[in-house]
């Protein structure tokens, strides 16, 4: 990939010299439809999910002040941070897997940058018209109609951005209450700040920065080629078939004229959201949105030429070799993903929603009580990770005759931490030096919810 881009440096440099704004041309076709569907689905999810309810509370809520994450029926605590890290790792490997298989599918169809830009361009088209109308409008002197068009575009953009910021904050605090608070003009300073921050980022990124983000700021765009091989799906112009390019009438016999299939209509360049010419070869500016495929196919249809002058293909296929989907790196990625995912699921399913922490009192080694009894003191911390209050039975084992003084059965509220001082006692004959013991806490309503924690019992050494 990088090789192709390098060999095209002189032409690419010429391309950059013009510091013009990109006016992507509107396009219809198979991939444009797919892209629209992806935009609807992903944006729909983003805007709808905070409104979903589950058991009388928000289904997806990252409650930062209370330090717990609600995901449907599951509640995660800071102690469960490993799950989030694990999930991010799975996401990363999934991205590598898809990249190796189908190239920059993520960039073209699923990246928030692409998806929001798509939405913003749609609003631009709605208010300022088609590509040529937009270009004319930008060149035209200021007038009432220009002000009206530009103003309504800004209005739509800003409203949409503000709604996006509101939705974003709605993932971190109950969105319904947030809505009520906003209507009552009673929003906290930081809430307002983060809402506006996200709104501004959306407005800037999707309205103005657009493809520049992919070109200059995105790390993934730079390193994705490392996942590529000659069997990775790419969008490419069929040079052998297209060249020599040139304009012609529909009636002209191209073989007789010595022309290729490319009629040099430049539609593929006009529709490109990053402003490149796909015919220059594979370039890392290409986000694989497939708009040029749609554009070229529509032209090929009009010319009665076969489709696919610009198409999804692989480097091997372009060289006339067969491309393989199943290849070593695919097996490796798939195996890693399977292991990571099954580990996550297993650990989530078998997760015990209680944490036990035992701290031995460091001030005294042990105490001798009347009747030849040796006593050690501990502080027991029980964290109930379920959402409801629960009764727990505390017990201790490891030394003969060891008993607990202090509450043996405790109630811990849903999501609460209980800190309880307890004393363990046994007869002097059983206590000798440093002995390993275990504390265990069991939910009284479900014996399978049990956690065991190691500690020590100190006795006299003769």
């Amino acid at each position: 990939m990088s090789k192709a881009a390098q060999t095209d440096q002189p032409r690419a440099a010429a391309l950059y010299e013009s510091a013009k704004k990109i006016y992507p041309r509107e396009i219809n076709g198979r991939f444009a439809t797919l892209s629209k569907l992806a935009t609807y689905a992903l944006l729909g999810l983003f805007y709808a999910v905070p409104w979903l309810m589950w058991d009388g509370r928000q289904a997806f809520l990252f409650d930062l002040p209370a330090r717990k994450f609600h995901l449907l029926g599951l509640t995660l605590w800071p102690q469960d941070f490993i799950y989030l890290a694990w999930l991010l790792m799975i996401a990363a490997f999934l991205l590598f897997f898809i990249t190796a298989l189908a190239g920059r599918l993520w960039c073209g169809f699923a990246c928030p940058q692409t998806v929001w830009t798509e939405a913003f361009i749609w609003m631009e088209q709605l208010t300022e018209g088609t590509r040529s109308q937009r270009m004319k409008l930008d060149k035209a002197p200021w007038s009432l109609s220009k002000l009206r068009r530009k103003g309504s575009k800004q209005f739509l953009w800003i409203m949409f951005s503000l709604w996006t910021g509101f939705t974003f904050v709605g993932y971190f605090m109950p969105i319904r209450q947030l809505g009520v608070d906003i209507l009552a003009i009673n929003v906290g300073g930081w809430t307002l700040f983060w809402g506006l921050f996200y709104a501004f980022a959306t407005y800037g990124n999707a309205g103005y920065m657009r493809e520049q983000v992919c070109k200059y700021m995105c790390p993934y765009a730079r390193f994705q080629s490392a996942m590529f091989d000659r069997d990775t799906l790419i969008i490419s112009y069929d040079e052998g078939r297209g060249e020599p390019r040139g304009g012609r009438k529909r009636s002209v016999d191209r073989q007789k004229e010595g022309l290729g299939d490319c009629i040099d209509c430049t539609l593929c360049v006009q529709v490109c959201p990053t402003g490149i010419d796909i015919r220059d070869g594979l370039q890392y500016d290409c986000i694989a949105c497939a708009a040029c495929i749609d554009a070229c196919d529509s032209v090929m249809d009009k010319m009665d030429y076969p489709r696919g002058l610009v198409r999804y293909t692989t480097e091997h296929a372009m060289e006339g070799k067969t491309s393989r989907i199943l290849r070593p790196r695919m097996y490796v990625y798939a195996a890693l993903l399977t292991v990571l995912m099954s580990a996550l699921i297993t650990s989530l399913v078998t997760r015990t929603p209680v944490i036990l922490d035992v701290i031995r009192d460091r001030n005294t080694l042990y105490r001798e009580l009347p009747g030849d009894v040796i006593e050690n003191s501990y502080t027991v911390k029980i964290i109930n990770q379920s959402n409801d209050a629960r009764n727990f039975r505390l017990s201790v084992a490891g030394v003969p005759g060891l008993t607990l003084d202090g509450a043996a059965e405790v109630t811990v509220g849903g999501g609460d931490i209980l800190s309880q001082p307890v004393r363990a006692r046994t007869h002097r004959d059983n206590a000798y030096g440093i002995m390993n013991i275990t504390f265990s806490v069991t939910a009284t309503d479900d014996e399978s919810v049990i956690v065991i924690e190691d500690s020590r019992f100190l006795g006299p050494t003769p």
């Binding site: 010429a14 391309l15 704004k21 006016y23 809430t191 790390p219």
Partner: protein
Amino acid sequence: MVSEEYRGARKWSRNKQAVATVIWISFLAASVATMLFFAVFDPTELIATLNVDIDIGVQTGYALGFFFFWIISAGCSAVTAWLVRTAPKRDTIHR
């Protein structure tokens, strides 16, 4: 050849590229750092250990933490970018 009218790639100046990249990458780094840090530490408990008599609240705690990490990482990125860009190009003479 495509006429110039269609050639439309905007190019950011090198300074603009550098500023945008520094801000964005340090933002990502700060986000990760904030997540890791506050997964372990509760801002209210953290402030309690400082023995200062102020109650800034958990939201301000998170925000301060985030901006602290952002400023640190942005500063680091900026200095790195500046050093890389202003390094003496001795290598080209000997090549």
